[in-house]
């Protein structure tokens, strides 16, 4: 009987486990993997190739690779001889064209691409399309310059063909340095720990989470309790209004805040009327920008708290409130001694849930102040997003961004454990002491 139950249990939770694996564990695992690489928009994600470029040759020359090797690798010449003509024919160059090349250019050597091209353009049977002409030129050169070799072996072979007597050590160094893809590294973490910028962003994040959380919980509680004491219909109406920030699409919500706080917006106009400084409150000063960021996020979170707290309030046996009124309790005494003690679990839940979601939320900040003015309202999650996926110069550092994201995952997990312990979650889910 017991084994059946556990199998059924396993079956019932399996969809959750699968979803958890797909949407949480895999991304977290991949983030972990990415964070130990130097992946960026220049290394690509899917893997690199082996390319010898003029810049690389200059660096290799500085690093002591022999001038003869460098010279051979730099050679871009084209030769028309029996070997290259045969290769051209084998590659599918039209027989007529190959014949004309053989008859008019045999034995000649061209120092560059453009020299050979000019010579070919004098031939009558050349292909019309430039691309076909360029393709026909390829078999006549052995140059390895700027060719993207998809495998290390191919690169090695090509280098050995161009420099047959290359020193084994040199070959290794050239092959290693010519790789364009990402490499494993732990530098992302050392960079994060050593950067002075990190401390500032951490401070911003702690400030943002603490202030917004306080707003969420306190305003949520205030709303729940005040609407609780209102007549049901009126209370419901006010609750509905407070839900608007949550149900409005985030882009629209952000635009409304922009209008509200813009140079000539409502806040600026009102401030002007009241004789206060009239400016763009969202971006014009650091304190006002922080206030807006906290309010923008705070209103969304407050409605979340309000719903949960309202539900919990309705679960309080109303007789307790009646009894307290008979005893002459004031509203504040009711709140202090009856309501708040019984809202302990919802408050703890909202606090822990909101801490974790605020830690990782950046979209409202991105769409409003975008971390500005300057970079003063940037938080960790926004920085991670911009580092990895979104910045003006297009220099996307996937590895570093992943390391930043993984730090958030780690902080989130540690905080979850602390919250669970602090709020004695095991008591909440423990079996009732009286068996029904």
């Amino acid at each position: 009987m017991r084994s059946h139950t556990s199998k059924l249990g396993l079956l019932l939770v399996s969809p959750a486990i699968i979803l958890l694996a797909i949407f949480f564990l895999t991304p977290a695992l991949l983030t972990g993997v990415f964070s130990f690489t130097n992946m960026s928009s220049s290394t690509g994600i899917s893997g690199g190739a082996w390319v010898i470029t003029p810049n690389l040759l200059r660096e290799l020359s500085d690093d002591g690779i022999s001038p003869a090797t460098i010279e051979a690798l730099r050679d871009e010449s084209y030769s028309v001889d029996e070997g290259s003509l045969a290769a051209a024919r084998a590659a599918g160059v039209a027989a007529e064209f190959a014949d004309e090349i053989a008859s008019k250019l045999s034995g000649q050597r061209f120092a560059s691409d453009s020299e050979f091209m000019s010579a070919l353009k004098t031939l009558r049977t050349r292909p019309r399309r430039v691309r076909d002409l360029k393709l026909a030129m390829e078999p006549f050169t052995r140059s390895v310059l700027n060719i993207r070799f998809e495998t290390e072996a191919a690169a090695r072979l090509a280098i050995e063909q161009v420099v047959p007597d290359i020193d084994a050590g040199e070959l290794e160094r050239i092959v290693e340095r010519s790789y364009t893809g990402w490499k494993w590294t732990s530098e992302n973490y050392s960079k994060l720990f050593s950067s002075p910028e990190t401390l500032r962003i951490v401070f911003n994040t702690v400030f943002y989470v603490a202030m917004t959380l306080a707003f969420n919980v306190l305003v949520g509680l205030f709303l729940a309790i005040t609407t609780f004491y209102l007549p049901r219909r009126t209370g419901g109406f006010f609750s509905l209004i407070w839900l608007l920030p949550r149900i409005t699409p985030v882009v629209l919500y952000a635009i409304m805040w922009k209008w509200f706080t813009w140079d000539d917006g409502f806040v600026a106009a009102l401030a002007g009327q009241l004789g206060l400084p009239s400016f763009n409150y969202m971006k014009g000063s650091v304190p006002s920008a922080w206030t807006i960021v906290i309010l923008v996020n705070g209103f969304i979170g407050a409605s979340f708290g309000m719903i949960l707290f309202s539900g919990a309030l309705r679960a309080i046996p109303v007789q307790q409130l009646w009894a307290s009124e008979v005893d002459g309790a004031t509203r504040w005494q009711q709140v202090r001694h009856i309501i708040l003690p019984q809202l302990r679990w919802p408050i703890l839940f909202v606090t822990s849930y909101q801490t974790l979601s605020l830690l990782t939320s950046y979209q409202e900040i991105w769409l409003t102040t975008n971390g500005g003015p300057g970079n003063t309202t940037a938080v960790w999650a926004l920085e991670a997003f911009r580092t990895a996926l979104f910045n003006y110069s297009g220099s996307l550092q996937y590895g570093l961004g992943a390391a930043m994201a993984l730090v958030l995952v780690a902080v989130g997990m540690v905080l979850s454990i602390i919250y669970l312990r602090l709020f004695r979650f095991d008591e909440l889910v423990s079996k009732p002491k009286i068996e029904f």
């Binding site: 690509g44 003029p54 590659a91 393709l135 390829e138 950067s195 763009n280 650091v286 979104f390 003006y392």
Partner: protein, 455 residues
Amino acid sequence: MTILKKTTVLAVAGALLSGAASAAIAEDYTISVWAGGSGDESDYRVKAIEIAADLYEREAAIRGEEVNITVETQLFSGWDDFKQAVTLAAESGTAPNIIVSGHEDIGPWVQAGILRPVEDYVDFDAWPLNQLYENLIQVSSYDGKIWGIPQDAESRVFFFWREHLEAVGYSKEEIDALPKKVLDGEYTLYSMLDDVKKMQDAGLVEEAKGFMPRISNGPDYWQFYQSFGGEMVDEESGKLVFDKQALTDMYQFFVDAVDKGVVPATYLGGDWDTWHGAVSSGKAGAWHGGTWHYAQWTQKNGLDDFFGKIVYTLIPAGNERGRANAITHPLVYLLSNTGTDDDAALAAELVSIASEPRINALHAVKSSHLAIGREEINVPLYAESRWATEATENLLPHANALPNDADFGVVWTAMYKGLEASWTGVSSVADAVEAAEQSVVSALGDKVIVRDGGM
């Protein structure tokens, strides 16, 4: 020589086979083209490809071939979202055939294998590519190959509101002579701060609105680095340069501007519409922008008599180490590695046709960009545009470009973060430079030369 050697044999065979087959068989192609940083006024970046496709189809028909080309276009107004879209699409093999982006993307994208070298597909010795400006071809090249075809050129400019200059004591002749004084280094960025302060004190412009620099990151800020003697690349070694002295002086300049009260500490990150509205209506004393902003101000913001109201110069020198300068930030047509070699060949031919003077002039004049080739000045539409011809003559000869280097983005991001931190007063100038240096050196090691210029 090609970057895709594996496909060579197949492609040659395919080309020969298709040549042998009946010419009557219709060939259908779909060519996609995405352009970054483009709005309604710069839609010819993609429309030019549509025009080119139409011409190509007609020419093919005359040769007796039936070619049907569907051009799919997409404009991205921003750069952040565009670059994210292109890089991620390329990772999944769905990048557009033609990418219109800044030339500085060539470095990282070549290393990542996103691009095909356009020189393998078109002939730069034949018309219309042989009349393109040589320096723009250089800007489109990286590591020994030409990767892109210049799409446009521009210059970044310093502007002054004439009326305000007059009100603080400049005669008309002195105002007309200002560009020359800037060029000679006699009028510096600090002279400008003094002048806009006078304008504020005289009540001509509001407090903290005397100087309105660019509100967000952009190549513009590298101009100020150059104004204080900074170099982005070491000419001899080709390595990137991080000049601490120039960066310190540049950061200090903006801090000084804040201290003087001509720009707010919280300026960066403002709104573009507000900025355009202010600078085009005399609400600022001096500002800097791009040649293309002319289109915005005259067409959308109602600025009439541009030349009567505004005097433009190079970005003034900051001190004796630096020079008056401008940066040009040409966009380029790039070929992605998406699709077959045949698709790329067709895409390259379309780009080549789109670079013909008459077609390119549509974009240049509509969006107030500058010509990409010598013959464009012969196109009446372009020749009639006073701004285009003046800017080409007066600014472009003094303009340089950002380096094409796979790692330049790292230096750029660090430079701007330091600027934000010092400008807003979050860090001291010295700490901001220190943090930028640390970030650059830890990422690039000896790929970057750190110059401390006697610091």
